[in-house]
């Protein structure tokens, strides 16, 4: 079966869906891998390295898709590319189907069988395929470094002959994968770290990294849903949380927000008044900028400093700033997923398999994913 890996065309996208190591695994499984020229250059992988791993490099993007069996990608293909994908071809990429409705419909019309890796179920067996965990890990780490570079002071504690440099105080809102990694990285740099989450169960996890869990006394018992995600808060809960949080924010040098709700806009955790209460020179890193941001004043895609001296960073797609490891992790997730659904060098759509059901978006001209269908019909 022919596996096709196009070069990512979305501006700013530096990742590639395969690495030489994963190509070798695919070839060993009996698949033939065809990669568009220059696909790996943004990640520091040359065509020669791919060729050495027994992939074929293709210069003409049109002929890339002829007789394609499986298309692997990071970002979903654009409309023009979808038109070139033969009917019945499999697509494995991060489609974001709950939001990209047009794309999903186009894929269905084109009779592409698409799997979206951001829908991989969060079960023990599928952890090796979970792109959200991989990318969040990198984003959490990078957020701390960005914050450190934006601070007018250092992060660690130093007692010197020229005075004592006190450690930065860092508050991480949201203790999921990104939040926990941010906590760990801030600790490695020597900061004083607090973590907060609406789900009280994560208090122990925050503390297991040496940080303090911020107890605002507003958590709810049913704050965690079946997938381990936080539920959206009620109005009342949100208001009480904000009031209690403001006093703490005034003390912080860095606030990193990571709260996301799947398929919905990001919840607002930091209001304009709360930003006004923060110190001059402090930094907010809003990791939810892609979905509108957790901070009212975030400008997604840009960084700026408010009149009161608070620097607000709204990075989009932070993992693209770490292309080597982002591609390494993403490619591993892809190949683990592919080898899971692949039997004898061809793909079996096993509707009894939890992982398949969770990730299959379109098949045979229909949108088959339960939740995506509901959102599209609404």
């Amino acid at each position: 079966m022919k596996v096709v890996v196009p070069r990512e065309r979305v501006a700013g996208e530096t990742r590639v869906a395969v690495t030489p190591r994963t190509v070798k695994r695919l070839v060993r499984a009996g698949l033939s891998v065809h990669i568009e020229t220059g696909a790996g250059s943004a990640s520091g992988i040359s065509d020669a390295e791919f060729i050495e791993a027994q992939a074929t490099i293709v210069s003409d993007p049109h002929s890339l898709y002829t007789d394609a069996g499986i298309v692997l990608g990071v970002q979903p293909p654009d409309a023009e590319t979808i038109a070139r994908i033969p009917a019945g071809t499999f697509l494995v990429a991060t489609i974001n189907p709950l939001i990209e409705h047009d794309l999903v419909n186009r894929l269905a019309e084109q009779r592409v069988t698409s799997f979206s890796l951001d829908l991989v179920p969060r079960i023990a067996r599928a952890q090796s395929m979970d792109v959200l965990s991989s990318m969040s890990t990198l984003a959490g780490y990078q957020a701390v470094l960005l914050a450190a570079m934006s601070l007018p002071s250092i992060v660690s504690y130093l007692t010197t002959a020229a005075g004592t440099l006190h450690p930065a105080k860092v508050l991480v809102l949201g203790a999921g994968v990104a939040g926990l990694q941010a906590i760990a990285t801030a600790r490695r740099l020597g900061a004083l770290v607090w973590g907060y989450d609406i789900r009280p169960v994560v208090a122990e996890q925050v503390e297991s990294l040496g940080a303090t869990f911020l107890d605002l006394d507003v958590a709810a018992e049913d704050a965690e849903d079946a997938g381990g995600y936080a539920r959206e808060q009620t109005q009342d809960q949100a208001q009480r949380q904000q009031a209690a949080m403001t006093a703490h924010l005034a003390e912080m040098d860095v606030v990193i927000t990571t709260a996301l709700i799947p398929g919905r806009p990001a919840p607002e955790l930091v209001t304009t008044e709360m930003v006004a209460a923060m110190k001059s020179g402090s930094v907010i890193v809003d990791l939810a900028a892609e979905r509108g941001g957790n901070c009212a004043l975030t400008r997604p895609g840009t960084n700026y400093t408010t009149d009161s001296g608070v620097t607000i960073l709204g990075p989009l797609n932070l993992c693209c700033t770490l292309p080597a490891h982002a591609s390494l992790m993403y490619a591993n997730n892809v190949v683990n997923f592919l080898l899971h659904i692949c039997r004898d060098a061809s793909i079996a759509v096993d509707t009894d398999d939890e992982v398949t059901i969770g990730t299959l978006v379109t098949h045979d001209g229909q949108v088959v994913h339960e939740r995506v269908r509901q959102v599209l019909e609404a």
Binding site: T137, L180, Q181
Partner: protein
């Protein structure tokens, strides 16, 4: 029977019924207890007025001694030992029924037969006496075994052997055959004693294959049996209050067992007979049984003698903050020439790289950390694996238990090591919520305690 006794018995029966009804809710439970106790008092007063009483001094001695023991138990046995208390009391109640049965048999059958005169027991009474002796005896021995399991005197793991259920059923059928033989007269009255003996053994056989964790259900069931024994005694003695109280006891005990099983989401047949022939079923074993335990000193000795050690850190180590103490233990071992490495499972902890962060914090050299695929072949050739708060990542259920939430997840092959020492606070399950088969394996010993404290104690012992 004198009218006053009948009235007292009636009052007692009514109070028993009201008492049990009140026990079903927390607010009225206290009152229920008191009502039932008053009922018992009235029943005892009524019985003491019985003409058939020969020697009052034996009875008073029994009441005083029994009352004293009961008082001491009530005052000194802690509330946490409630199930054990109930087991003892229930067992003795069964014994009482059994003994009454034997004494009645003696009086009405054996003595007259030996004297050559007419047996004063008809078929009905003989049959009921047989049931009384059987139920009383098996309740007694069964309750004593239950007490032993709760106390840890008898192993909590189910004691099974192939064909056990068939043997038990055959035994039961045998006992019923003896009773029917006694009723028809084809068996000599000495067989009542044989029956008692068979029943005593049956009580033991019945309870041994049931896991220690299920003892509360068993005790409720044995309670029911002792109630049936009491009802049978009532029939033998023509005592109405015994029949009523026994019936109450029997039915409430059975209902309680069924309710408890429902709450555990298991059928009663699974609880009573489930352990026999059950290999680790899909989804993992439901009964934990007893792991081997080890002390800090013994663990230190094994580590001391080891040539190769692999430390397996998990979320437990993180939650305990034990990484520094673990590093100390590793350093002490390395200074003796032992090879020490850390097996890092890809999803150990609660976030990617959780173990790396903590071990780096504790200054463990990066070279000592080995990833799963690389270190898995080495467990078989390693002397000691020290598991620090890891659970699901080394649970063999992932390899074969198809219903298990971790099925299919690659794990560390820790169970292949010659000796596994697991440092953990308790036998509670990990993130996936299932028991770990490895903990019960013969090559695995549990070192219970707080991760940090235990590791510090190990370090201290090793440095001596």
């Amino acid at each position: 029977m004198a009218a006053s006794i009948e009235w007292l018995y009636l009052a007692a029966a009514v109070l028993f019924i009201l008492g049990i009804r009140d026990l079903s809710s927390a607010e009225t439970a206290r009152r229920g207890n008191t009502l039932a106790a008053i009922g018992m008092l009235l029943a005892i007063i009524g019985t003491l007025q019985h003409q058939a009483i020969v020697r009052i001094d034996w009875i008073i001695a029994g009441m005083v001694i029994g009352g004293l023991i009961g008082l001491l138990m009530a005052v000194y046995m802690p509330m946490t030992a409630m199930p054990e208390r109930i087991a003892i009391v229930n067992g003795l109640g069964g014994a009482a029924s059994g003994l009454v049965g034997i004494s009645e048999v003696y009086r009405h059958v054996i003595v007259p037969q030996a004297a050559g005169s007419v047996v004063t027991f008809d078929a009905f009474h003989t049959g009921v006496a047989g049931f009384e002796i059987m139920l009383g005896s098996l309740t007694f021995s069964g309750s004593m075994i239950a007490y032993g399991k709760l106390r840890g005197l008898v192993s909590g793991s189910p004691l099974t052997y192939p064909g056990q259920n068939i043997v038990n059923v055959a035994w039961l059928v045998g006992m019923l055959a003896v009773i029917s033989g006694l009723v028809t007269g084809s068996l000599a009255p000495e067989f009542f004693f044989v029956l008692a003996g068979l029943a005593l053994v049956f009580g033991v056989m019945f309870v041994l294959p049931i896991g220690g964790a299920d003892m509360p259900v068993v005790i409720a069931l044995l309670n029911a049996y002792s109630g049936l024994a009491a009802a049978a005694t009532g029939f033998v003695l023509n005592n109405k209050v015994l029949i009523i109280a026994g019936a109450l006891d029997g039915s409430s005990g059975l209902l309680l067992s069924l309710l408890m099983c429902k709450a555990m989401n298991r059928s009663i047949t699974n609880v009573l007979f489930g352990a026999v022939g059950a290999a680790v079923s899909s989804g993992g074993s439901t009964d934990q049984g007893d792991p081997q335990t080890i002390s800090v000193v013994e663990a230190a000795e094994r580590l001391f003698d080891a040539r190769r050690v692999i430390i397996v850190p998990g979320y437990g180590m993180a939650a305990a903050g034990a990484q520094f103490a673990v590093r100390e233990v590793a350093d002490l071992l390395k200074s003796r020439g032992t090879e020490v490495r850390y097996a890092i499972h890809p999803v150990a902890g609660r976030m990617p790289g959780h173990m790396n962060v903590l071990l780096a914090d504790a200054n463990v050299p990066y070279d000592d950390l080995v990833e799963m695929d690389e270190i898995n072949p080495d467990f078989a050739d390693t002397d000691v694996a020290l598991v620090m708060g890891a659970n699901d990542t080394c649970n063999p259920a992932a390899r074969h238990a198809e219903g298990s939430p971790i099925f299919g997840m690659p794990i560390l092959d820790v169970d292949q090591t010659s000796q596994v020492i697991v440092i953990k606070r308790s036998m509670s399950p990990g993130f996936a919520g299932i028991p770990n088969e490895m903990f019960l394996a013969p090559n695995c010993h549990m070192l219970f305690g707080d991760g940090k404290q235990v590791a510090e104690q190990l370090a201290e012992t090793l440095s001596l």
